[in-house]
C-alpha cells in the first residue's frame, strides 16, 4: 500500500509536470536541454492466488467450522438422512413393502459416491511449474502467483544496462505512444497489452556524465508507463534483445539503485 500511496501522490504533480514538459517542448524543441524517453513497464498479472499465511489458514479453518455448526441442512443432506431412516425401517420391518413399490430409487448415498469418484479423477495443474524449478527467468510460466515485469538489456552511452524497455521521444507524438513504440520494438508488433491510462506512473531523470554534457544536452528524463499483458502467448513475438521476466524482489539484482528507487515507487505488490 505504501507504493500505491506514493504513486498516487506522484501522479498529481506528475500530470502537471508532464503537461508543462509537453507544452514547452512543442513550442521550442531546441531550447529544452533534457532528452525525453518513454519506457514501458509490462506486467504479467498473477494467474493463481498467493498461498495463505499461517494465521490466515487458521482463521479460515475456524470460520469454516463455526459456519458449519451454525448452518442449516441443505436439501441433499435432508434427503440423505431421510433415506437412511427408511433403510433402517425396512430392515426392521418386513420386505413386502419393497416389492410392492417396485421403484428404483437413486439413493443420495449413491450420488455422493459417484461425485467422489469424479473428483478423484480430476487433477489440478501444479502450482510450481517446471520453469520455477529450473529458475528460468526468461519464461512467463514462472512464479504464477506474483507480478512479472519485463526487463531488457539496452545500450546507453557506453554501457549495456538492464532497463525497462525505453525509446526516445519524437516530437509530435504523445509520451504514451512512445512507450507503446518501445514495447513494440522489443517484443514485436502483435502484443496484446492494455496500457493503463495516459498519465505516466513515474519519472527518472539523470544527468549525462561531464564528458558528453553540452548546453543543449544536459541529461535525460525517462517517463514510465504501465501496461498489463493480456495474452500469455509470446511465441509469435520476435524477441530481439536479451529479456527477462522478473518479480519486484528480483529487480534489485538487475537495476541500478537510483533507477530502482524510482521504479519501486510505482510498483504495487499485493
Amino acid at each position: 500500500m505504501a507504493g500505491h500511496c506514493g504513486a498516487r501522490a506522484m501522479a498529481a504533480p506528475l500530470r502537471q509536470r508532464a503537461a508543462a514538459g509537453a507544452r514547452g517542448v512543442c513550442s521550442a524543441a531546441a531550447q529544452r536541454p533534457w532528452k525525453l524517453f518513454g519506457a514501458m513497464c509490462l506486467l504479467r498479472l498473477p494467474r493463481i492466488t498467493q498461498p495463505l499465511e499461517k494465521v490466515e489458514e487458521e482463521m479460515a479453518a475456524l470460520m469454516e467450522q463455526i459456519e458449519l455448526e451454525k448452518s442449516h441442512y441443505s436439501d441433499h443432506e435432508i434427503r440423505k438422512l431421510e433415506e437412511e431412516e427408511q433403510l433402517k425401517k425396512k430392515k426392521e420391518s418386513l420386505y413386502d413393502e419393497d416389492e410392492a413399490r417396485g421403484k428404483t430409487v437413486i439413493m443420495a448415498q449413491d450420488l455422493e459416491e459417484k461425485w467422489e469418484q469424479k473428483f478423484l479423477q480430476f487433477k489440478a495443474a501444479p502450482r510450481i511449474t517446471d520453469a520455477d524449478k529450473n529458475n528460468d527467468r526468461t519464461s512467463l510460466n514462472r512464479k504464477l502467483d506474483s507480478n512479472l515485469m519485463l526487463l531488457v538489456k539496452q545500450k546507453i552511452g557506453n554501457q549495456e544496462l538492464w532497463l525497462l524497455p525505453q525509446v526516445e521521444w519524437q516530437p509530435g507524438e504523445t509520451l504514451r505512444s512512445t512507450a507503446e513504440r518501445a514495447m513494440a520494438t522489443f517484443l514485436g508488433d502483435h502484443i496484446q497489452a492494455k496500457v493503463l491510462g495516459n498519465a505516466p506512473y513515474g519519472i527518472y531523470k539523470y544527468k549525462f556524465p561531464r564528458a558528453i554534457r553540452t548546453e543543449n544536452n544536459v541529461g535525460a528524463k525517462v517517463f514510465f508507463f504501465k501496461a498489463f499483458l493480456q495474452s500469455s502467448d509470446l511465441s509469435q513475438a520476435g524477441l530481439k534483445a536479451d529479456h527477462l521476466w522478473v518479480t519486484k524482489k528480483e529487480l534489485g539484482d538487475y537495476l541500478k539503485s537510483e533507477y530502482l528507487k524510482k521504479v519501486n515507487r510505482f510498483l504495487l505488490d499485493l
Binding site: A19, L45, K226
Partner: protein, 249 residues
C-alpha cells in the same frame, strides 16, 4: 399646543390618527401605504379647525410615538411589543401541526440519470459500474463489500451498491452407455454492482490495478460506464400495463 383640549383617542373617527398596535381594524381603515396614518376620512370641518386638529393630531402622534419609544427604550421587551419570544410563557401557543398524524409524501419512481462529461484539463469519469459475477455467493458478496470500503477509504463517492437477480443454470449430462443417464447440476450465478462517481482519470488506473490484484479466484470483474440500459435492466417490465397502453394508442 393644547394637549389636554381634545383627547383624540376618544373620538372614534380619529382613532386611526395615533399609532396603535395590533389593531387590525385601523389598519384596514388607513390603508397600507400610510406609515404616518395621516390619510384619514376627515369629518367635514372648516379649514381653520382642520388645521388645528391636524396640529393636535401630529402632537398626539409624536407623543404617542415618544411614549412608545420610551417604553421600548426602557428595555422591557414584554410590554409594548406583541411578538412572543421563546422566554414568553405563551410562546408557540398556536402550533398544531405536531398533533396531526405524519403524512409520508408519495414516492414516485425516480428516473435520475446524471452523467458527467469529461471536462477540460481535469478529466473525470461519470457513473461507472463495477460488476462482479461469480458462482460463489459468499465470495462475491465479500468482494463487493471490500470494493465498497476501499472506495470509501479512498474518498471516491459511491452512488449505490446493489445486487442483480441471481440466474440459475441447470447443467445436464447426457451419457449414452446403453441407457441414457442424465446428471443434473444446478448452478446459481450471482452478480453485485458497485456504482462510482467522480473518478479522476489519473487515479482510475491505480484503482483498477488495486482491484485487479486483489480479485479472488472465480470472480469475474467488469468495469463499465453506467448507461440507461443498465438502469432499465434492474426494473421489471409490466406486460399488462404495456398491453393496456398498446390498446389505448
Amino acid at each position: 399646543m393644547y394637549p389636554s383640549m381634545l383627547d383624540l383617542r376618544d373620538i372614534a373617527q380619529w382613532r386611526g390618527g395615533l399609532v396603535s398596535h395590533g389593531d387590525t381594524e385601523d389598519k384596514q381603515l388607513t390603508g397600507r401605504g400610510d406609515p404616518c396614518n395621516l390619510l384619514l376620512p376627515y369629518p367635514k370641518r372648516s379649514l381653520g379647525q382642520r388645521s388645528l386638529l391636524s396640529h393636535l393630531l401630529w402632537e398626539e402622534e409624536r407623543a404617542a410615538t415618544a411614549r412608545e419609544n420610551r417604553l421600548c427604550a426602557a428595555g422591557d421587551a414584554l410590554l409594548g411589543c406583541h411578538r412572543s419570544y421563546r422566554s414568553r410563557p405563551t410562546h408557540g401557543i398556536g402550533k398544531f401541526k405536531y398533533l396531526l398524524p405524519k403524512e409520508v409524501p408519495k414516492k414516485r419512481k425516480e428516473k435520475v440519470q446524471m452523467k458527467e462529461i469529461d471536462a477540460g484539463t481535469e478529466h473525470q469519469y461519470g457513473d461507472i459500474n463495477i460488476q462482479m459475477t461469480s458462482y460463489d455467493l459468499c465470495l462475491v458478496e465479500h468482494f463487493a463489500q471490500y470494493v465498497h470500503r476501499l472506495c470509501n477509504r479512498l474518498s471516491i463517492r459511491v452512488n449505490e451498491s446493489y445486487a442483480m437477480p441471481t440466474k440459475t443454470n441447470e447443467v445436464l449430462f447426457m451419457e449414452e452407455r446403453g441407457s441414457k443417464m442424465q446428471l443434473d447440476a444446478v448452478l446459481t450465478t450471482h452478480q453485485r454492482v458497485v456504482q462510482i462517481r467522480g473518478l479522476s482519470s489519473t487515479f482510475a488506473p491505480i484503482l483498477l490495478e488495486i482491484i485487479q490484484s486483489s480479485q479472488p479466484e472465480g470472480v469475474h470483474l467488469l468495469m463499465k460506464q453506467h448507461t440507461e440500459a443498465d438502469f432499465k435492466s434492474r426494473l421489471k417490465s409490466r406486460p399488462e400495463l404495456e398491453e393496456l397502453l398498446a390498446e389505448m394508442s
